[in-house]
């Protein structure tokens, strides 16, 4: 599957099927710090992503001042 990462934007190929939780662990990402976005919605931790999926892993931590 295609995995899009942000800040800076880059792409990875990861073999599916794989659960969201396992994908984040494989990429050494803290699930508290990111969302996994597929199309216009989110995928929960136990959802299984297939080889033909494209997902964005979006960081949610920001600098603080609004």
């Amino acid at each position: 599957m295609r995995v899009v990462l942000r800040n800076p934007r880059r792409e990875l190929e990861v073999a599916g099927p794989i659960s969201v939780t396992k994908l984040l662990r494989q990429l050494d990402l803290n699930r508290e710090s990111v969302l996994v976005v597929r199309g216009d919605t989110l995928v929960a931790g136990d959802a299984v992503l297939s080889d033909d999926d494209t997902v964005e892993i979006r960081p949610v931590i920001s600098g603080g001042a609004s």
């Binding site: 942000r6 800040n7 803290n30 699930r31 508290e32 710090s33 990111v34 969302l35 976005v37 216009d40 919605t41 989110l42 995928v43 929960a44 931790g45 136990d46 959802a47 979006r58 960081p59 949610v60 931590i61 920001s62 600098g63 603080g64 001042a65 609004s66």
Partner: protein
Amino acid sequence: MKCTVCRGEAVIDLRRHNANFCREHFLRFCRDQVAKAIAEHRMFGPDDRVLVAVSGGKDSLALWDLLVELGYRAEGLYIDLGIGSYSEASTATSVAFAESRGLTLHRVDLREEHGYDIPTAAAVTRRVPCSSCGLSKRHLFDEVARTGGFDVVATGHNLDDEAAVLLGNVLHWQTEYLGRQAPVLEERDGFPKKVKPLVRLSERETAAYCVLRGIDYIVEECPMAAGNRHLRYKEALNALEAASPGTKHAFYFEFLDKAADRFRPEARASQEELRPCTSCGAPTTAEVCAFCRLVERVRGAEPVPVEVLGSKGRRRRRRNGAARDGAAAEAGATAAAAGERVRP
């Protein structure tokens, strides 16, 4: 994974609440959390005019959307900070959000109206950008609230912001700041009331709210904020949260319940008498307020492109080590994050 409420397909799991939600029930959860924060902390009522500090990021746009959804009279204020392409994208996103919903967005352009931008101010003052940025924003939010007849200024500080500021204040035993840290700063001597209605939502939740509501927001981090201490505190708290869900909520809300009052006398004692700035009339402890002194110092300086400042900042951080950034500048960044005022 099933929605805890309706057993439909869940799109998000919130381990700190031991709950999973479908889109509809997650959006309702967010509205309920904000309504609860507003009511519990007596932030404002249905007749109050609320000025929302808008940056184009997830928190401020989620906040504005939620307040409108809850039926409040909320208008936005966007300040163009002149941070290169980042500010251009932030402006476009904020304007598009307001126009798509028919909402009123007030705008202030630092360069056009006050003769400087944040990269230039940082270069001239030789302080980290968050210092002049926070000072400028606080002054202008206060000014627009005062002149526009708003009852309250609402900022998008979320649970992660507040927990990170608390951690920083505790690590350095900033007892005066601990005494001021609260979801509400009451109106005082010309300063408007300031509130943080998102304190019950984490930033993962505000980002999720935006995705599920179809709100286009700026995902990129401010190029001036990269590597600041506040971000490192958030990372540390998220590592604890991953191991023990609910840690951030307990840290912040137990502080409010059990410890904050102990520091209030110190915060009150440190409050100096305020008088009007002889230049702009804003409340200040000095003859001329910090904002007017900043404008006087940086207005007319040769503009410094953000790319130049960014590379200098990176070199300086490598040379000195990020932990030794100036203490005064750090206090400015912390105060900006907490929505608190740094008095001259």
